[in-house]
Amino acid sequence: MDIAVVSGKGGTGKTYFSTSLALTLENAGYIDLDVEEPNGYIFLKPDIKENIDFTVPIPEINEEQCTFCRKCDESCTYNAISIIPQIKKAIFFPELCHNCGVCTFVCPVEGAIREVDKKSGTIQKGVFRNGYFIEGRLNIGEPSGVPLISGIISKHLVPDRINIIDSPPGTSCPVVESIKKSDFVIIVTEPTPFGLSDMKLILEVAKDMNKRVGVVINKDRGNDQLVKDYLKRENIPILLKIPYSVEIQKAYSKGIPLIETVPELKPKFHNVFMDIKNGKV
């Protein structure tokens, strides 16, 4: 069972929540797919066993063989190849390439284009106290985290386990990719107009993808009705409220997981999972 943790707005507490959820369950996987800045390791302090290079295919053009017919240039949706027959030059811009392979496919000349592997990130695998840990880390300057995210989901998750997927913020392609195969989507929000606004956006995404959803309100001060009123109106379940407190914030800044700071929350985390598992939400 895969549970994705998303937020829309950044900094609402996806990682803070998901690491504690992973620590609550036995033998669950914590999968950090916030590949542009994975930081779940700060809370889980995993023992890393494997470092795997992640590569994507990019074209390599041989100007000796190339006839400068421009077929690849015209076929590339992302304008990653410029063929200039006037000066017999083929220029490739790796930062625009989406690794689709269409250039190699349409090239009529044997040996003019071949695909080569380019390292675009690293996958770390290991264990933490009561579960297994996977982290994707994209190289700086890479145009998209999508290949790395889909690569981890399709090849590295242990099947038949509970996988807590810590997704990237926002509502764009990497988020969509990280929740695509999930059975449930947990939205972590904060009770501010910004939290509400971005939560609405991610709710739309989840609805379009026909996902079951529930909301966790972080930094809850009890008297803030903005997000709660909206969820009530839309009939969306609140799974958990994490109180706002200086104690929690202090411990957070030291990398101490929430359920260690507030052990009383552990049964509540467990209930969140049971409700999801038993289809109560």
Binding site: Y78, I91, F93, L96
Partner: protein, 111 residues
């Protein structure tokens, strides 16, 4: 000798230079020997998401332009212009007739 000029409007030599190279509205190609505009083209790449500059630079090269006068090309466009031996004079505003006469007087500076 042909000069490539990214411009805002289609008003012949009165056209105003665009602040942007790749996403200018029109391109004017000025032939120095004939001393006139030989082509005005609407920018068909304008609304592309990525890599617009290199398409525009490719267009300038395909039209055998030797020089670009106007907004600064982006790094990718510049790479293509460099390989094709097309120099760019960076001019951020003015109308075509003015910059052409400045070029002829040799008062424009490269880069």
């Amino acid at each position: 000798m042909k000069i490539f000029l990214p411009v805002k409007d289609d008003k012949g030599i009165e056209s105003e230079l665009d602040e942007r190279f790749a996403r200018a509205s029109y391109f004017i190609i000025y032939d120095l020997e004939k001393d006139q505009i030989v082509k005005t083209e609407k920018n068909m790449f304008k609304d592309g998401e990525h890599g617009v500059g290199l398409k525009v630079a490719g267009f300038a090269v395909a039209e055998n332009c030797n020089l670009s006068i106007g907004a600064k090309p982006g790094p990718k466009a510049e790479e293509i212009l460099y390989h094709a031996g097309v120099n760019s004079y960076i001019v951020n505003n003015g109308i075509v007739s003015d910059v052409i006469s400045k070029y002829k007087k040799g008062v424009l500076k490269l880069k």
